[in-house]
């Protein structure tokens, strides 16, 4: 019943507006073309200024409301991501100035140069000097932006430092798997052809490869603060994307084409809880490439810890091999192999 009323009210509003519009058309015909045109010009010219002022106020007000909800106030949670925030500020400054100036000019000109009695428009077809000016000035500013941007781009896409720990991330419909290389520091080989979910091998790990004996397979990522982490990114089925907004990092996960990305976390999860005044804060990994109906459910959790806490956590983790083949003599849970392998890349 309420739906019917809603529609009825809507239709009534439309009819009223239409009648007003029709009536005002008759009125303007009666008034004569010249007079109605002048009145329309006055009203719309005035509205130009109103819109400009309200628009600028609105932009300011919107900023008041939502700046706090962006990731700026809390800063980048990765060392490298700080550069992205710097770049954002520089770009906002340049484009912001252009935005304000051009919008003011546009609406002000609309208001100021509306048709006036006894004033003719000024025949001004071209001026090469002006054209040159507003070709070179934007080009210069854009070059500056490009220079900064490319400098940081090549840092982000370069190889990580040699002390980076490696974590493999695999996306599938609809979740994330993380694999740690274990004490030997090497991830065991895997292939999609070895996939065998019923037997517990959802990643297709090659358990004949000795490097996989100590690999740890989890659905939650822990990383230490202050150490670069290199993510090796795979996908099982369709294209996903590892989106790490807090760290300002993002990289597609493509089946058949591994990708990598690296960053250095600055703050532990506990520290972020204080920084953001949010006791529920958690670093989330969002899938940033549409991957099917569960795209929005692909939520990965990343815990950043103090190095000592991370080390303790890592020691407690059991290699996947041990869980899948508990009776096998190649079980890595012997003190023998533990003492032989160096604690690689963890400082």
């Amino acid at each position: 019943m309420t739906d019917f009323f809603l529609v009825a009210i809507l239709v009534m509003i439309f009819v009223v507006i239409f009648q007003i519009a029709k009536a005002s058309e008759y009125v303007s015909v009666l008034k004569g073309q010249e007079k109605s045109r002048k009145q329309n010009n006055r009203i719309n010219g005035f509205l130009m200024m109103v819109f400009l002022v309200l628009g600028l106020i609105g932009a300011w007000y919107c900023n008041e409301l939502y700046y706090g909800k962006t990731l700026f106030p809390q800063g980048s949670a990765s060392v490298e991501g700080e550069k992205i925030d710097i770049m954002l500020w520089i770009t906002i400054a340049v484009t912001g100035v252009v935005f304000i100036i051009t919008q003011i000019i546009l609406f002000y000109f609309g208001f100021k140069y509306q048709e006036k009695d006894n004033t003719r428009a000024f025949y001004f077809p071209h001026n090469n000097k002006l054209e040159l000016l507003w070709t070179t000035v934007p080009a210069i500013f854009l070059t500056v932006l490009v220079a900064f941007g490319l400098k940081y781009w090549f840092i982000f896409t370069s190889d990580p430092p040699s002390n980076a720990i490696v974590v493999e991330v695999t996306g599938h419909q609809f979740g994330w798997d993380f694999r740690y290389p274990g004490n030997d520091g090497v991830l065991g080989k895997k292939s999609y052809k070895l996939y065998n979910q019923p037997a517990g091998n959802s990643l297709g790990v090659d358990f004949n490869d000795s490097a996989s004996f100590d690999d740890i397979h989890l659905t939650e990522m822990h990383i230490p603060k202050g150490t670069p982490v290199k993510l090796v990114i795979n996908a099982m089925d369709v294209i996903h994307d590892v989106g790490l907004s807090h760290f300002r990092m993002k990289m597609d996960a493509v089946p058949g084409i591994p990708t990598t990305m690296w960053f250095t976390p600055k703050y532990t999860t506990e520290e972020m809880k204080k920084i953001t005044s949010n006791p529920n804060f958690v670093y989330e990994l969002s899938c940033d490439q549409i991957c099917g109906k569960g795209h929005f459910t692909m939520r990965g959790i990343i815990i950043v810890e103090e190095p000592a806490v991370y080390q303790a956590w890592l020691k407690e983790q059991k290699p996947e091999y041990g869980t899948l083949f508990p009776d096998n003599t190649k079980n890595t849970l012997t003190t023998d192999s533990m003492s032989k392998a160096p604690i690689a890349q963890i400082k």
Binding site: I17, F18, I20
Partner: protein, 385 residues
């Protein structure tokens, strides 16, 4: 098939824009077609153009050797020119409408043609800026950053030329003119946010977030739409021999531009917070659920804006039969040739000979005349433009 005297440099900017649009389309659509055909093959004939190393729904697929990224290259090779196919007609028509309704020549005609040309060429060279986070070779990415930000230069030239066209004009605010001015405003806003996204380092953070959604809606969804509306309001009298209702046109413009900014401006903030696009629900996401109130607001405004478009659609169809009849041949006082045809032009457009053209279409307010249409020969003492 241009009439006598209609050299390329006497063509209205609308035609230049439509010409370059057609060039963009003819060269880029076949690539989409090829991608679509290859995809049909992969889907139905067991080929592996785009598929390799896949386990889906518990099944290991036999496809090997394909690249999902190949499709992206094929798609975006059309995809990027496509957005210029959408934008250029709006630019051309807005140039025309701004000029006619300011009673001034469009400023910098040759620069406008040149920038349309530059945009057309560059449109083909920037497609991979949609693919910065696919893991492509960083050097390649860097090249695309350069080319992408290069395309901002002709766009900037056009904006400044439009502003200068308005300067010291004698503006009459028809709905068409309002939509053309609105187009410029929205193109400025949307174009500037493109600069954020074209810089690959920033795109890492902003890719696939609501920042992108805000950007392309402002520049494609609203600005181009405004160009379309401006064109409809301007040429409706020629199409149907009647006027669209003016008051409804004013209501249409002011509510739509206010609504569009209310919808898409705050969206940038969501994007800066990393809020992903194409998400059904954010309630479980600690990082994104704080935008619930804003999402509700945007949805409400969107519904109002949609309802207002219904007003326009009604105006459009109602006025075909019941609109105020056009009584004069040239209601906008324009120089271009379409206004020299009869009120309801039939087959062949001109009943007699096609008029000859002696000048460019932008002689508004020249030498004391309000307008001098293209068919008027140049006088012996007339100044060059």
């Amino acid at each position: 098939m241009r009439t006598k005297g209609m050299s390329m440099t006497r063509m209205p900017l609308t035609i230049w824009a439509l010409f370059f649009t057609a060039v963009l389309g003819v060269l880029s659509f076949p690539v989409l077609l090829s991608g679509a055909i290859l995809l049909l093959f992969d889907r139905n004939l067991g080929t592996s153009f785009f598929l390799s190393d896949i386990v889906v729904a518990g099944k290991i697929l036999p496809n090997e050797g394909g690249s999902a990224i190949l499709f992206q290259h094929l798609f975006w090779f059309l995809g990027h020119p496509e957005v210029y196919i959408i934008l250029l007609p709006a630019m051309g028509m807005s140039s025309e409408i701004l000029s006619v309704n300011s009673r001034k020549p469009i400023f910098g005609y040759m620069a406008m043609v040149g920038s349309l040309f530059a945009i057309t060429i560059l449109a083909f060279l920037v497609w991979a800026h949609h693919m910065f986070v696919t893991g492509l070779n960083p050097l390649l990415g860097g090249v695309f950053v350069l080319l992408t930000l290069l395309i901002a230069v002709p766009s900037a030239i056009k904006v400044f030329n439009w502003l200068t066209t308005l300067w010291r004009g004698s503006i009459r605010f028809t709905p068409a003119m309002l939509f053309a001015i609105g187009f410029v405003s929205l193109f400025i806003s949307g174009g500037l946010t493109g600069i954020f996204l074209g810089n690959s380092a920033l795109d890492i953070h902003l890719h696939d977030t609501y920042f992108v959604v805000a950007h392309f809606h402002i520049v494609m969804g609203v600005a181009s739409f405004f160009g379309m509306f401006a064109g409809i309001y301007q040429w409706y009298p020629k199409m149907f021999g009647r006027y669209l209702n003016n008051t409804l046109g004013y209501i249409h413009f002011w509510t739509t531009i206010a609504g569009a900014y209310l919808i898409f401006w705050p969206m940038h903030y969501e994007g800066l917070a990393g809020m992903p696009r194409r998400y059904y629900d954010f309630s479980n996401w600690e990082s994104f659920k704080m935008f619930g109130g804003l999402n509700q607001f945007i949805s409400m405004v969107a519904m109002v804006v949609f309802a207002v478009q219904l007003l326009f659609i009604f105006n459009f169809f109602y006025s075909i039969w019941k609109g105020r009849k056009v009584r004069e041949l040239n209601p906008w006082g324009a120089n271009t040739l379409e206004w020299t045809t009869p009120l309801r032009p039939g087959h062949g457009n001109w009943p007699g000979d096609i008029p000859e053209v002696h000048r460019w279409p932008y002689d508004y307010s020249k030498d004391g005349h309000d307008f001098i249409d293209q068919t008027v020969p140049v006088g012996p003492n007339e100044s060059q433009h």
